[in-house]
Symmetry: C2
């Protein structure tokens, strides 16, 4: 197995399980900070393997491979949340520092465990119930109204872990598996928000400004940082919730909380419920690469190494992130060349991935004073790279 | 030889001859832009080789090795200016795009050629003369005053290419070599400035704001961006000079012009002369990594690939760069950990190099509104990492 080469002077090696774009985007801050990455990669041409010298190919499902990989690391962290509990326990058993810890990671791996814990902590959630059969689903729908959001607590069926059902009949195939499901009320939200935070093993924590996320066909396509016209009291509550979760769940590293904002009735203040929890750098935090003093990737490296955290303030009044999805043609470079000419202030981040329709292949950031103009620039750039606009 | 692995979609490979910190600092923007670096490195633990997957070890002096290396590159550029003319010509002869071109690189390799060309172009220089013997040096010193700055046009003797001599006797050892030297008047400058610019093969050019550089014992220790209280007419002249040189010398890539500012007499405007020319990203431009929309390393990659250049405006009213020199102890990581705790807004850039007293091992950037406070922060951080202050 390829061994990582450390910088002299006592600098550590950070192991990352998974070679996707999140691991890839840790490489620029690792270069700056003289940290060495060691990536357990799915293939030699995975996003991170293209840019990290030490990226052995191996499986996150194989205890032996993961343990061998970890022998060269001072700490192990993750590109994704799919490492099984038994592999995580083997790492911990072997004395490898793992961040986030398996006990915290559970709340991103198991949505039912997450709902139980958040409800215990008094964190606002949509109404929810574990559903074992048709009768329980019918009772929940009749009480909270249809449609109902149905989720598989872990993974999913046919690649899907969430669906909206208007009747028990529509859920028949999932119910037929005989496994517990999570039913949630369909929240009448006005918009989606996300809060990104980091916590170190020593307990230091930092929260970035809350952002607005815009979803198109279930994929995050745009992030506005900070969330425009967010009620300051609500903003403070959301930041406090992130810090509460960081401490109570003993989270280490960067994590994100996806949130639904709900309008107040008749002049009352808006409120929120937590939608999802992600225990890693997150798409809603890509704006921080160009928009914050410390990016989420630099912060994640600092946090898992128990280095002091960096400043999280915004560098511009507004930063807008646009996700770039794969389109119909795969020769991206000529398109990108034209785009750079059109907008010299555009910050392009591509993941070195082959184009497939709908696949996240990169993102763009723009920042400045005029939010509307920034949104137009980010949207155009993403659409142009996707091929849905041609001028 | 290790082959570079390109990102799919038609993205190119940029070859860099030399694996020092300038090559290393090209890796973060290469990751963002999905460009692949291929580095001909001095050793497997050179600064760039630690962070670039494709960094074969080879010599820039060996035509065969350089040609073999270049076969995998779409363009070849440099970490340093020491590639011999015959190696450059062999690359050009083999049809490899080389940027900067040998004809332009000459003006950074040969100080006498630079002085001749700049004087022809009407660019202000110190009084200068080629010196072949003691009589010529004596005549120059008697005309322009002693001491005289004496330079070897190429390379140097005993690792030194510049010295200040107060008499012909002090220059006896250099004169004894029988090779032409460059004598320059000792300019009574008030401070040192530098201007950084980029030009692409298509002829697009961009100039960053002029900065002030502070030298200590002949090493650049601090850069203030932009140069405080710079006369706006002088600033415009300096920018125009950079653009003139870019076009007239047919420079491609990023380059820097080191400048002496000279006070105006009796209320007249200040003036300047050009001190040196560097045909590559430059220490005086490290502030751009955190302080400008486009860093000099991103811009250099764009320029040598003939991609459109990025915006060069400053992101904050002031950015201060402090060079970190090696001190007496080599366990840098604990020191660095304390420093990150002291200043969460500090941007640390380390080169992965072993500590040797006086060696450039990294730099720090800080930015904001209060120049004096920023200077204190940058100075402290650099001194703390060097070990000359301990709290």
């Amino acid at each position: 197995m390829i061994s990582p080469r450390r910088a002299p002077g006592g600098f550590p090696v950070v192991g990352i399980i998974g070679g996707g774009q999140l691991a890839r985007m840790c490489q620029p801050p690792a270069v700056n900070l003289a940290l060495t990455l060691h990536v357990l990669s799915e293939s030699p041409d995975a996003a991170a393997a293209l840019v990290v010298p030490s990226a052995p190919v191996g499986s996150h499902l194989d205890v032996g491979q993961v343990l061998a990989f970890a022998r060269d690391c001072d700490v192990v962290t993750f590109d994704h949340e799919h490492v099984p509990a038994e592999v995580l326990q083997a790492l911990v058993g072997a004395g490898v520092p793992v961040h986030p810890k398996p006990e915290a990671l559970l709340f991103a791996q198991d949505k039912l465990a997450m709902r139980e814990r958040l409800t215990d902590l008094g964190v606002p959630c949509p109404a929810w119930v574990p559903v074992h059969d048709a009768a329980e689903l019918a009772a929940f729908g009749d009480l909270h109204g249809w449609p109902v959001v149905l989720k598989t607590p872990r993974g999913g069926y046919d690649g899907k872990g969430v669906r909206v059902v208007s009747s028990v009949q529509e859920a028949a195939d999932w119910l037929a598996h005989g496994e517990v499901l999570l039913a949630e009320e369909c929240v009448p939200f006005t918009r989606e928000l996300a809060v990104l935070a980091a916590r170190s093993p020593s307990g230091q924590a930092a929260v970035w400004p809350t952002v607005q996320t815009v979803q198109t066909n279930g994929i995050c396509t745009e992030v506005l940082a900070p969330a425009p016209q967010l009620d300051p009291v609500l903003a403070a509550k959301i930041s406090q919730t992130a810090l509460l979760l960081a401490g109570e769940l003993d989270i280490t590293g960067v994590f994100a909380v996806e949130i639904f904002e709900i309008a107040g009735k008749a002049g009352t203040a808006p409120s929120y419920v937590v939608n999802e929890l992600a225990m890693r750098p997150h798409n809603s935090g890509h704006w921080t690469i160009d928009g914050s003093v410390t990016s989420q990737f630099e912060q994640h490296l600092r946090a898992v190494l128990d280095l002091p955290l960096g400043e999280v303030s915004a560098r511009a009044p507004w930063t807008v992130m646009g996700n770039v999805l794969g389109g119909d043609y795969d020769e991206l470079y000529p398109t990108y060349r034209h785009l750079l000419a059109r907008d010299p202030g555009l910050k392009v981040h591509l993941y070195g991935k082959g184009v497939r329709p709908g696949r996240k292949i990169g993102h763009v950031n723009v920042y400045g004073d005029d939010l509307d103009a920034l949104r137009v620039r980010a949207r155009h750039a993403a659409d142009y790279l996707e091929g849905t606009v041609t001028e």
